[in-house]
Amino acid sequence: MPQPSEVVIEAAQTGRDVRLHLRDGEVVVARVLWHDEQEFIYAAITSSHPERYAVCDSTGTTLRFDALTRASVMRSEPLTKQSLPGRRRP
């Protein structure tokens, strides 16, 4: 079974969303925006703790890999620029 860090890095490389299980009980589906060897930044899509992302927009959350108990890459196709119709800025 791959380590959570390996899963997160795979998600970052493929652009797919990832389901994260945190040690504090939160389960969050996210897009990985950045990572290094110890930690990563994600933008939350949905979460068992929505209040953590309810101030305004998701600002990107930093998490150390050791805060995860497990992770799995979502099977759905990644959201890309091409999948958004029309212009992308006002």
Binding site: V55, D57, S58, G60, T62
Partner: protein, 303 residues
């Protein structure tokens, strides 16, 4: 001590949407001042549902990013919700943040110019019906001035209470004296007798914001230069895990509400005194999830 009830922030996630609407009805029944919905989980959809699930309470988006929908398309949705809710809807819009936009493959432009154009395009969209009041997400002076010029209100997120008078001094008298002009602030809130746990919860909520240059610049303007420069040094050194510890107690008390029920009620009163007409409490719990956080909130403001 009797204090006017605040508004609250509410987000709905898959599997809990009907339960969230039940929660919204309870918020209305208890007399809270409003329900404001972040973009997380689709705040616009939640607002449309609130138009029918509730009867009296004001509600709105706080905040819907402008980069994800054409102004003319969004004008129709906003007008629709405005009409079917009997004028209870407030459309809060903002330029969002780079990570949230990056998730969707979007690149932000120039905030002030883009926001001005977006509001102008919404207002110029023909045959959509009357628009709701448009509230701009603000932090610093230029966006506040733009909100006063082209909008019907302004809403901060994580504003500093000690700096609010200075920020609101840029609101002209004609706007300040207009009770319909929306002046709000989203305030992370954690109610707990365990003060350290409550502070840790709020620090967690706000750490992501401290990593954004626009927020750090705002908090520097508000007098937290030492804290923000220490965070910038930590970021340069790759020490992100130090950030929560660098968010001082003084800063935390100025930007959030935490502590016992009595302390939170007292803090809320101070927000009203600082000029915020609609404090929007964003409840988190040190002991559970959103549902638990609302239980604690209801208990704190039970009448």
């Amino acid at each position: 001590m009797s204090v006017s009830l605040p508004a609250v922030s509410l987000a709905a996630v898959p599997g809990r949407r009907k339960a969230t609407l039940e929660l919204a009805r309870e918020i209305e029944r208890r007399g809270f001042a409003g329900i404001y919905c972040p973009s997380f989980g689709d705040g616009v959809a939640l607002c449309e549902a609130l138009a029918f699930a509730t009867e009296r309470i004001l509600f709105g988006t706080s905040i819907q990013p402008i980069y994800t929908r054409l102004a003319s398309d969004f004008a129709q949705t906003a007008s629709f919700i405005h009409e079917v809710s009997g004028g209870r809807f407030r459309l809060g819009i903002g330029v969002s943040h780079v990570p949230a936009l990056a998730r969707m493959g979007l690149s932000p432009g120039k905030p002030l110019a883009d926001m001005r154009r977006y509001v102008e395009e919404m207002r110029a969209t023909p045959r959509v019906g009357e628009l709701p009041p448009i509230v701009l997400a603000t932090l610093r002076t230029k966006m506040i001035e733009l909100a006063c010029e082209v909008g019907d209100g302004l809403v901060f997120a994580n504003g500093a209470r000690s700096h609010m008078r200075a920020s609101l001094s840029h609101v002209p008298d004609s706007r300040r004296e207009d009770p319909a002009f929306f002046i709000g602030n989203m305030i992370p809130t954690c109610i707990s007798d365990d003060l350290e746990a409550a502070k840790a919860t709020n620090r967690r909520t706000l750490t992501g914001y401290a990593m954004l240059p626009n927020y750090r610049n705002y908090w520097k303007e508000a007098g937290y230069v030492e804290e923000m420069e220490a965070i910038e040094k930590a970021l340069r050194g790759g020490e992100r895990d130090r950030i929560p510890a660098l968010l001082s107690d003084r800063w935390l008390a100025d930007t959030t509400l935490f502590g016992t029920a009595a302390q939170v009620r007292e803090g809320l009163e101070a927000w009203y005194e600082a000029g915020i007409r609609t404090p929007i409490l964003v409840p988190s719990s040190a002991a559970g999830n959103q549902i638990k956080a609302f239980e604690e909130l209801f208990e704190t403001f039970a009448r």
